[in-house]
């Protein structure tokens, strides 16, 4: 067996720098530029990594961005997406050499190159080719080949450029390298440092039994690593499957029904694929390419030309599902509520897979509607009332208490799977005390005399106020969006008799509202 490891030193820095446009420095000079990566906390930006050149300037991890800027280094933001795309590129690159590739860690890939000599030449040649391929991706890498993946990794970590560790000579080749290449735990690293062990050679010299007596199995593992005596199997990289179906339409579709016909077909295909792998749908992503240039449509809609060319919707499902009817219905309702603004040319439907959820039925659990049905119902409701109200609250779901003094403050939570806990019954409330709250509150015109409301007009009612009690003042959230209200309980004489209302003045806007009616 023969393995090659590709190691990218200062991987997060290189991933960021490879996307930076060319400067006066040539590409291979880039790693020598002092570069520090910073990451933003909530208000503070700190250095999380810097290359050797930056360290030489005096930059250290943990410094603030402002401090680091004083040293004249390039400061860049650490980017998870850049790292991800660089890792993908690295894996792709490795796949172009070998079908068995392991994504060992960020910035490290290991390839099984057994039998590739006929295709690419000697291991040294393969290494050079890999290095060149990585360079074309903008990454400067170390490449090492050995007879086990760990030795290859250690050599790639410790030896700059390309190297080949011949079988049987692992100890000699790894000997001069610092023990840091073995990635010992911080505790072991400290002990080894105290022992004066700097290199793999120093560690390899110690007899395994006394070492194990002192550092346990981990000590023995490190010792074996220095001698290339550890054997492990490669864990081949399994690329994530994409469950996507695309349909190009010959004619732009304007109506929902034919569109759903096509979507249904795509959905069935996707579900078939998922079924084959015993997977369910967790999220459905619909992307529609629109024909915004269509003359007819422009005339009809009388809109100006600057329109987005794609239209995207995502359905996040509360539980993984596989029922095509339900999914289609959900898409149907969603599109009904959010129709695309132009005829459709292309449809792409993507499913995020998930393993089905298996739950044990509970004898004492109250029977609840199936999750799919609940979801469809909610989608129907949403399509009618809209997704959120003016306070950005969900419109559909279960009301939840908010710990706040703000009157009538509540949140709307998604329906949860019912739990076995018994809900406490609400305390009985006398009918007279009940306040029927108007949501939203009704705007009113109120006349005030001697600090008390004396006349009110709202929703077609105009009446003198017979009695009033108040004001009851409440305020809060001064540190973000302040609210402040003055409440009054009032009594009016209407044609039907006496009626009590609760009204309030929004102190900040000075507007009057009727909060509700007392039963």
């Amino acid at each position: 067996m023969l393995f090659t490891c590709v190691f990218v030193p200062f991987f997060p820095i290189q991933t960021v720098m490879r996307n930076v446009p060319e400067t006066s420095q040539s590409k291979d000079k880039r790693p020598e530029l002092p570069v520090a990566l910073v990451e933003a906390g909530e208000n503070i930006v700190r250095v999380v990594l810097c290359n050797e050149a930056a360290s030489a300037c005096g930059i250290e991890a943990g410094m603030t961005k402002t401090q680091a800027e004083q040293f004249g280094a390039l400061i860049r933001d650490k980017s998870a997406s850049a790292e991800q795309s660089a890792q993908s590129a690295l894996i792709e690159c490795a796949f172009s050499f070998s079908p068995r590739v392991e994504s060992t860690a960020p910035g490290i890939v290991t390839l099984d190159i057994a039998g590739l000599e006929r295709l690419f030449g000697s291991p040294a040649k393969i290494n050079s080719a890999l290095q060149a391929a990585a360079a074309s991706l903008g990454l400067k890498v170390n490449v090492a080949t050995a007879h086990d993946p760990d030795t290859a990794l250690i050599a790639a970590r410790g030896i700059e450029g390309v190297s080949v560790v011949p079988q049987g000579q692992e100890e000699q080749c790894l000997g001069p390298l610092s023990i840091d290449v073995l990635s010992p735990s911080p505790e072991d690293r400290e002990i080894l440092e105290e022992w004066g062990i700097q290199t793999c050679k120093d560690l390899a010299k110690i007899l395994p039994v006394p070492l194990t007596e002192r550092l346990g199995q981990e000590g023995l593992r490190l010792w074996k690593l220095t001698r290339g005596e550890l054997r492990r199997s490669l864990v081949p990289f399994d690329p994530p499957r994409r469950f996507q179906e695309v349909a190009e339409l010959e004619e732009p579709v304007e109506l929902l029904e034919p569109l759903l016909f096509v979507i249904n077909r795509l959905l069935e295909n996707i579900l078939e694929k998922l079924n084959a792998r015993a997977l369910f749908v967790q999220e459905l992503h619909l992307e529609l390419s629109l024909d915004v240039r269509s003359e007819d449509w422009h005339i009809n809609q009388a809109r100006h030309k600057e329109m987005p060319q794609t239209f995207e919707r995502t359905l996040a499902l509360p539980v993984p599902m596989q029922d095509p009817k339900t999914l289609l219905k959900l898409l149907h309702l969603d599109l009904e509520a959010h129709p695309p603004h132009a005829p459709i040319l292309r449809i792409a439907l993507t499913a995020e897979p998930a393993r089905p959820r298996y739950t044990q039925g509970n004898l004492f659990l109250r029977a609840a509607p199936e999750a799919e049905k609940v979801e469809v119902l909610q989608a129907k409701l949403r399509s009618i009332v809209g997704e959120t109200d003016m306070l950005n609250r969900n419109t559909v779901g279960a009301p939840g208490m908010v710990d706040s003094h703000e009157p009538d403050s509540f949140k709307v939570l998604p329906f949860m799977a019912s739990c076995s806990e018994k809900k406490a019954l609400p305390a009985p409330q006398s009918e007279e005390d009940m306040l029927r709250i108007y949501r939203p509150p009704r705007s009113a015109r109120v006349r005030v005399a001697r600090d008390a409301p004396v006349h009110i007009a709202f929703s077609g009612i105009s009446s003198a106020i017979l009695q009033s009690s108040g004001p009851w003042r409440c305020a809060g959230s001064w540190w973000k969006k302040k609210w402040e209200r003055e409440f009054w309980d009032i009594e009016l004489r209407l044609t039907a008799g006496l009626a009590q209302y609760r009204i309030y003045r929004d102190v900040l806007t000075n507007g009057w509202f009727v909060a509700g009616k007392v039963n």
Partner: protein, 1051 residues
């Protein structure tokens, strides 16, 4: 309509009120409220401050407290608002709170029982409280019936005329419902109604601070505090009209406030405090007993009592008799006697040193008659306050012994430590307010790091700039909230601590004067007032202060007795020219007071030759004399470089001994009396002004009077200006002469011990560290330069403390186990106990016999080479890594009888011996110091090739020449008096090099100057009569050693 606010809480309710008493008083003035009652929770913490400020404004401060009462204390116990009507009532309230507080541990919820409430009800008026009060509690628990029952019980406890049904209107419906029931019950039971606003803050905007405090108290953020926060901001001070309008339906509730206020006759003016009487043997008069002790002491101190001494003593005793202070002096004398009998070093300092009586009673060690000190500075008829005696004691056990003696002597309720009110400062405010607003720990760490890290502050350093430096955007709304909250909570009390040494003693029961609380330390009680509050109310305080140097002196004397066979009488140390020569050459590392860099820089110029010279030396390095240029003129005059002149001939007798320069506070008082015709009382006012926090403004206020007095005495405008400058600069703090003299005595003692008994003194210093200016690493290097030999920590020889050993005729210092980092004292005791059975003959033997030591401790012992002797008992050589290798195997073994006596064969390791650099790194890692050469010494040859001068070589460089120095940064300072200049002390194997970094160079090399351990500095040499400084022009880091050496940075 008149109205008195009778229910208010201040920020002294610690997180349950958001008004500083000053702000409440200001509110009362502004809103024309003639009086107000402060009812803090379970205490009268804020009452003195409130009383003082209200009195200043001609308003009346009623005293009271909200006391938690419940038979089973919980955090939700109802708070009974109790107002003090009479002095008896105050005593009862104080005892009620004390009884409650002392029952529980510090910071645990506690409450008085109803029985105790009944016991201490006399002289108090009870209100029925707000939503946390007893009426609301009863209504919640049992409705109207329960509330009625409560009111009947209160009537029974306090009497019907002393229970008022309290009404508050904060525009809340549930409160109004409660009010309606309260009014009905009051009518039914014929109880008076009273309106209050339950004030928690002066203005509605301050509700924000209370919300923040609520979050701190409940350990939550504003975002998730929910209904813990107040529903509105109505609990602020209101005018009489506003209150009358609010209670227009119940006008008697308003008028009753005035009526009740008029019945509350007690204020803190008539506290009823009496200083304890000293139990005179045979029941004689205190003053007679005192006189006898003084004359007895005088004959011991002076031998021959001259007329001058007699006159002074008689004058002082007459005044003491007149002011009835004999008891006070006898109590202090009693403490001194206890110390002497228990072999505890003690020395009075402060103004007590101005008194010959104190000298004769051995309270102080300075002869005020010989030193011509001003007695009036200590005690005068005109003073409306008690004299102040501070006693310096060795820190640690000895001091605690004395404190416990005082507790035993006067009873746990007759004495208490004064409190220390910890207030919000920039850092603590930013941290806590930041947390409340939901900022993360990392940001808050950064922010507190950026706030006020150096003593010197750039005047342009606004809070916004400091926030920006911490990487926070000051334009962001939430950051602005943070800044605003930080500014507004500055100086508000955060919690109550304990003053380092102030004790209040009282005749009878101190708990009738001020409520007492348990302190964190076992066996101590602390009163609810801090030293300023206690002082302002005339409570007498004795400061028992811990002084590390005294501990070192005490230990030295014991070591000298044991190892040199000599008895040292500290009271009669000879005037030794060798000691003065050493002091004058600034060879004073490790001595008391005269070891700092500024002191060392001035010592060769002052060239002290006698005790008085040392007194001036101690006094010149203070912000007052430095900023007023007194230090510069004095030193020039000492060297004869400037003629001794006097601003006016009238000042010559006062300033003669200090060469025409004002160095001491007493001199200023004399000048005020002689040159400006101040009376003793006015001079006293001036003294207080000089000692106060707002001294500059207060001195300025006295300026016209000073000038008119000086004009009358013939001082012209220029002379007056000079005198005024002295006053102004002294406002920034200078020493009283007596205090300086006391310190000079200790300084001389330490220098004497260092010169003659170096080993003993260094040993005592190391055992009493932390103290002084230098890290042990520097102390050791200095002692080595003086020829002292050290021996490393050794498990077979070392004690917990450092000890002295005899090697032939030589005495060497053995480092103690306390210097092994991370080694617990308990583990060290185990080692010593086991070693006393038999020595350790191998590392395995050590590990097995002392199994209580964990692996980390074992590794530190191995790294420090403390295990070397255990590995070498058979005459073979082993090294530190052998020990490290072995402890990794044998460490953590469980003691097992079967393993007793088993000899392990593996004594050595396959590991290489440490290199020189490894050993240095190991030394500093394990002990924070090295007994080998200073790291710079190993690099001297290469440094010399780089043209770098050593500390000693630098002193040979003539003034004005360029030179390069390098060394380990032993100290960085940026004092407030130096306008941004930074002082860096570089240490090498030859001594120290003093670097001055001007403000612009600091800015240019900030990162290097502040962050690197070793520096190379190039600059111009300033050589002034052997005092050498390097004025830095460039600073670069230097790579010398990876050892973790520490620097002493004065932040």
């Amino acid at each position: 309509m008149r109205y008195i606010e009778l229910h208010g809480r201040s920020s002294y309710s610690f997180l349950e009120g958001a008004a500083h008493p000053d702000a409440l008083a200001y509110g009362c003035v502004k809103l024309e409220l003639p009086a107000m009652a402060l009812l803090d929770r379970n205490g009268v913490y804020g009452s003195p401050a409130f009383h003082h400020i209200m009195k200043l404004n001609g308003l009346k401060a009623h005293v009271g407290a909200e006391v938690a009462v419940a038979d089973h204390a919980t955090a939700k116990s109802p708070y009974y608002p109790l107002l003090v009507r009479t002095q008896r009532g105050y005593k009862n309230l104080s005892r009620l709170i004390t009884t409650t507080k002392l029952r529980a541990k510090k910071n645990t919820p506690t409450a008085a029982t109803l029985l105790e409430l009944r016991q201490f009800a006399d002289g108090l008026v009870c209100l029925t409280g707000d939503e946390d009060g007893p009426l609301a509690d009863a209504l919640r628990k049992g409705g109207k019936e329960e509330a009625k029952h409560l009111l009947e019980r209160l009537k029974d406890i306090f009497g019907p005329e002393n229970v008022h049904v309290e009404l508050q209107r904060h525009f809340r419906p549930e409160q109004e419902r409660r009010n309606q029931i309260a009014v009905e019950l009051a009518r039914e039971l014929h109880l008076p109604l009273i309106a209050t606003n339950g004030v928690l803050y002066p203005t509605p905007q301050d509700q924000e601070i209370l919300d923040a405090f609520t979050c701190i108290k409940n350990k939550c953020t504003l975002d998730n505090a929910g209904r813990l926060l107040a529903v509105n901001a109505e609990r602020h001070l209101r005018t009489a009209n506003e209150m009358a309008q609010l209670f227009r339906d119940l006008p008697e509730a308003i008028s009753n406030t005035v009526e009740l206020s008029s019945r509350l006759e007690f204020t803190l003016e008539n506290l009823g405090y009496e200083f304890p009487r000293y139990p005179v043997p045979d029941g004689g008069e205190e003053i007679d007993f005192l006189c006898a002790q003084v004359w007895k002491g005088a004959s011991e101190r002076y031998g021959n009592i001259t007329d001058r001494i007699r006159n002074q003593l008689e004058r002082e005793l007459a005044l003491i008799r007149q002011l009835k202070l004999a008891g006070y002096f006898l109590i202090v004398w009693d403490i001194i006697r206890f110390c002497r009998e228990n072999n505890i070093l003690v020395q009075g300092r402060g103004s007590a040193a101005n008194s010959a009586v104190c000298y004769c009673l051995r309270i102080t060690a300075v002869d005020p008659i010989a030193m011509e000190l001003l007695f009036e500075r200590f005690l005068s008829e005109a003073r409306g306050e008690w004299p102040d005696i501070d006693l310096d004691l060795p820190s640690g056990d000895d001091r605690e012994k004395v404190i416990q003696y005082v507790y035993r002597r006067y009873g746990p309720r007759g004495v208490a430590m004064t409190a220390n009110v910890i207030t919000y400062r920039a850092r603590s405010a930013a941290r806590e307010m930041g947390k409340v607003l939901g900022f993360g720990t990392q940001t808050l760490d950064r922010l507190s790091g950026a706030l006020g890290s150096w003593e010197w502050k750039d005047p342009n350093d606004t809070l916004a700039i400091q926030f920006r430096r911490a990487g926070l955007d000051s334009a962001h709304a939430r950051i602005q909230r943070l800044m605003s909250l930080c500014e507004r909570v500055q100086n508000m009390p955060r919690h109550l601590g304990q003053h380092s040494g102030g004790m209040i003693v009282c005749q009878g029961m101190l708990d009738e004067v001020v409520p007492l609380e348990p302190a964190t330390m076992e066996g101590r009680t602390v009163c609810q007032w801090d030293k300023d509050a206690a002082e302002s109310l005339g409570l007498i305080k004795i400061d028992l202060l811990g002084l590390g140097a005294l501990g070192a002196v005490r230990d030295s004397v014991e070591l000298i007795k044991r190892h040199y066979g000599k008895e040292i009488d500290l009271a009669h140390l000879p005037e030794d020219s060798k000691v003065y020569k050493t002091i004058a050459s600034a060879d004073t590392v490790g001595t008391f007071q005269i070891e700092s860099r500024a002191q060392m820089a001035s010592l060769p110029l002052n060239n002290p030759q006698c005790r008085y010279d040392l007194t001036t030396q101690v006094a010149i390095i203070r912000p007052g004399p430095i900023e007023g240029q007194a230090t510069r003129h004095f030193l020039l005059r000492r060297q004869g470089k400037e003629p001794v002149t006097y601003t006016h001939p009238i000042l010559e007798p006062i300033l003669k001994r200090t060469l025409g320069v004002v160095l001491f506070q007493e001199q200023l008082l004399r000048i005020a009396m002689v040159a400006a015709n101040f009376t003793a009382a006015e001079a006293e006012e001036l003294r207080r002004a000089l000692g106060s926090k707002r001294s500059e403004q207060r001195v300025k206020a006295l300026e016209p009077k000073l000038r008119s007095g000086m004009t009358a005495n013939g001082l012209n405008r220029q002379q007056q200006d000079e005198v005024i400058t002295h006053f102004r600069s002294f406002a920034k703090y200078g020493f009283p002469e007596s205090h300086a003299a006391s310190f000079a005595l200790i300084a001389y003692s330490t220098a004497y011990l260092k010169v003659h008994y170096l080993a003993a003194y260094e040993c005592a210093l190391l055992n009493n560290w932390p103290m002084g200016f230098y890290h042990p690493a520097s102390l050791i290097q200095d002692a080595k330069r003086h020829g002292l030999k050290y021996r490393m920590v050794d498990v077979n020889r070392s004690e917990w403390n450092c000890t002295l050993e005899h090697e032939g005729t030589e005495i060497v210092l053995r480092m103690g186990l306390r210097y092994v980092k991370g080694l617990k004292e308990e583990s060290a005791r185990l080692i010593i106990a086991e070693r006393s059975r038999r020595i350790f003959h191998s590392v395995a033997d050590f590990c097995r016999r002392v199994p209580g030591i964990n692996k980390a401790e074992l590794r530190m012992l191995a790294i420090s080479s403390a295990l070397a002797s255990a590995g070498e008992t058979d005459g073979t050589k082993s090294h530190r890594r052998d020990a490290l290798w072995l402890v990794q195997k044998y460490g953590g073994w469980i003691r097992h009888p079967l393993l007793e006596g088993i000899v392990e064969n593996d004594r050595y390791s396959p590991l290489l011996r440490m290199t020189l650099e490894d050993r240095l790194v190991a030394d500093y890692e394990a002990t924070g110091l090295t007994l080998s050469q200073h790291p710079m010494g190993y690099r001297r040859d290469s440094l010399r090739r780089m043209g770098i001068k050593s500390g000693v070589e630098l002193t040979q460089v003539p003034d004005g020449r360029w030179a390069t120095a390098a060394g380990h940064v032993s100290c960085r300072q940026r004092p407030g008096t130096a306008n941004g200049t930074m002082f860096i002390t570089l240490e090498d194997e030859t001594g120290f090099a003093n670097v001055i970094v001007p403000k612009n160079t600091v800015q240019e090399h900030w990162a290097t100057a502040c962050n690197h351990k070793f520096l190379k500095v190039r600059g111009v040499v300033q050589n002034d009569g052997g005092v050498v400084h390097l004025l830095a022009k460039s600073i670069v880091p230097l790579e010398v050693s990876a050892a973790r050496m520490q620097s002493h940075d004065f932040h």
